[in-house]
Subunit: 371 residues, 2 copies
């Protein structure tokens, strides 16, 4: 269960591999609708140049696993200790590790230069809800309230058809964190009412689309509560037998979900690894360094971008950027489209000087010169 | 004065910029002719997929400088101290430093992880000679004698038309180093005879093309003697005023000329910098790191490849590779074409395991299966 969006750059990777199975518009959205908790004019929208897809991963991933096995891959389900993973390198040319938890994640040392936080910067709660109308054109609502956190309302397609993923990203200690701390399963009806209360109190542009009578969770398995400590880990480790383990996905880069980059970064990284496997046949340290070098710029950009966005208190350029987008359509579109291009996004918002330059540049594009 | 070859990947960069001014075949070559100083069968050739250009830099570069000024660039000729270079950052958005000598080179710290040598591994002597016939098809002769060094016979086009650059790469302490130590200008005729003597003694596939009576230097300015300590330096330095200096070319990567990579690496690097300038407008540390990240894989590959080739004594995989090419046309062609692709070249020859894999792979391509 997850509220992942595949951006169009990721869909292009899937099309290239012949695994782009869901052409329908019901699975996609094409805009970001913003609401900021400050200023006189608080709403604006940005458009993507091509749609993103939001299909329940419990439908999406099993189909990709079928593609994998149809092409000769073999799936095995086993619990593996770190030692058992080490032993796999004796019988396989290349072992790639993707899960990021516990002793397995700890096999790959944390990169302290790129991992500024030692705890989650947001408390998370995401559920798939009925009773929240989609926008037209379909889009993700990004509602940001200083001191409270973010709400992302993400139109998903799940087992029952259209649902709205409400992803509450709550500042620790703020008034929204209760949606993470109060366990859904203890009292689902109380949790439902609490959610409506938070929506009504802080997120008017989502609340106005709620049908209170029809507002209910899709199912008991459709809610996740927790938090993520962002971390970027080393690309690979050398084992005592001289072989290597390569990190890919969450075990390599763990990000807060607020900018929808985890799966897209992992897909990019997987393509880099796949291409390197096709061009090389010796899986030594040079191979590992080649993979590391080729994915570094984009992976580090995603990491830095998200860690800039979730900083408590906000980095000074972020409110400046969000406010400037209200009256600057080119800037809003650029910020939105950049969810496909983390390098461009950190170029845009990496510092106050960079945001100032981006505002000026976009304003020049938007303004019709008087004559 | 220089014996640079622009590989076809570099010519493609020039074509893209509209500065590819020399279409004629007289300026190009398309093959490597090899001669090894061991084994029963010592000669073989490798072919490029597209020709390289060898035009005297004293003709080439002034034309490119004209292109630069025609498009709005301004050339100024001044001696600059390191301090004066620092001061340029107060009046320019971006200052790129290319020369690599003395205190200016020393502004950029040496990367000890990528700079294995503290002195030249070859003594160098290169002259532009008349009286050495070209091969058909035109090509560079690579004559390698263990314990002596290399001779590269490079067909150049210079002020007088066709000349042959004889680039002697001599192992320090070996019998060829006299061509570096005995100064040409002290006695040009003695140096000419000495050159003929070395050719006759060690380099039969070049000597057989020499017309002894016509063998003479093009001019007194057409010889260079010296040596290069290979070094890879940091991509940039931060100055006390908060601005940066960016390294490009020799000041960044200084390589022995034996694999003809210096100018090609610099051209690639310049394109990376140019593209980054077009996409960005804030020349902060992020910009510097972006440039560093994008050129790292190719620059480091060239550095590692050349430093592998010039190691004294030879790295074990190099004689194995050169010998295997005698009977393996696919491998000879691959090694040759890879002068365009340093990443593929270090993939091929970075270790004994990699050379073994490359020999097997190329042999499989060359062999016609019996049936």
């Amino acid at each position: 269960m997850n509220s992942v969006a595949h951006m169009h750059v990721t869909l292009a990777l899937e099309a290239d591999l012949g695994i782009d199975h869901w052409p329908g518009e019901e699975y996609t959205y094409s805009a970001h609708y913003h609401h900021n908790g400050w200023g006189d004019e608080r709403t604006y929208a940005g458009e993507f140049t091509a749609p993103s897809r939001t299909l329940d991963y419990r439908i999406y991933l099993p189909r990709l696993m079928e593609d994998f096995t149809e092409r000769g891959g073999v799936m095995e389900y086993r619990d593996l200790s770190a030692g058992e993973i080490h032993a796999l390198t004796d019988v396989h040319d290349l072992v790639v590790v993707s899960t990021g938890k516990g002793e397995i994640g700890a096999m790959f040392p944390k990169r302290t230069d790129k991992s500024p936080y030692d705890r989650p910067q947001r408390k998370l709660a995401v559920g798939f809800w009925h009773g929240v109308a989609r926008r037209d054109p379909n889009g993700v609502e990004i509602s940001i309230i200083p001191g409270v956190g973010e709400l992302l309302a993400i139109p998903m397609w799940s087992f029952s058809g259209p649902v709205m993923a409400l992803l509450f990203e709550s500042v620790p200690g703020g008034p929204q964190e209760v949606l993470t701390d109060q366990r859904f399963e203890d009292d689902p009806e109380a949790y439902r009412k609490l959610t409506l209360d938070v929506l009504g109190r802080y997120h008017p542009t989502v609340m106005e689309r709620v049908d209170v009578d029809g507002f209910r969770i899709q199912g008991e398995q459709d809610i996740l509560q927790g938090g993520v400590t962002p971390v970027l880990r080393e690309d690979y480790v050398r084992l005592p037998n001289g072989k290597f383990l390569l990190a890919l996905g969450d075990v390599h880069l763990t990000v807060d979900p607020v900018q929808a980059q985890g799966a897209n970064a992992a897909a990019y990284s997987a393509r880099v690894v796949g291409d390197a496997v096709l061009e090389d046949e010796v899986f030594d340290e040079r191979f590992m360094k080649k993979v590391a070098s080729r994915r570094a710029e984009r992976i580090e950009a995603a990491n830095d971008w998200i860690n800039t966005m979730i900083h408590n208190p906000p980095m000074p350029q972020i409110p400046a950027l969000l406010t400037a987008m209200v009256g600057n359509q080119a800037l809003a579109d650029e910020f939105t489209e950049n969810f496909n291009y983390p390098i461009r996004q950190i170029d845009l918002l990496g510092s106050e000087a960079r945001v100032d330059a981006a505002i000026e540049r976009a304003a020049a594009r938007t303004t019709v010169p008087a004559n």
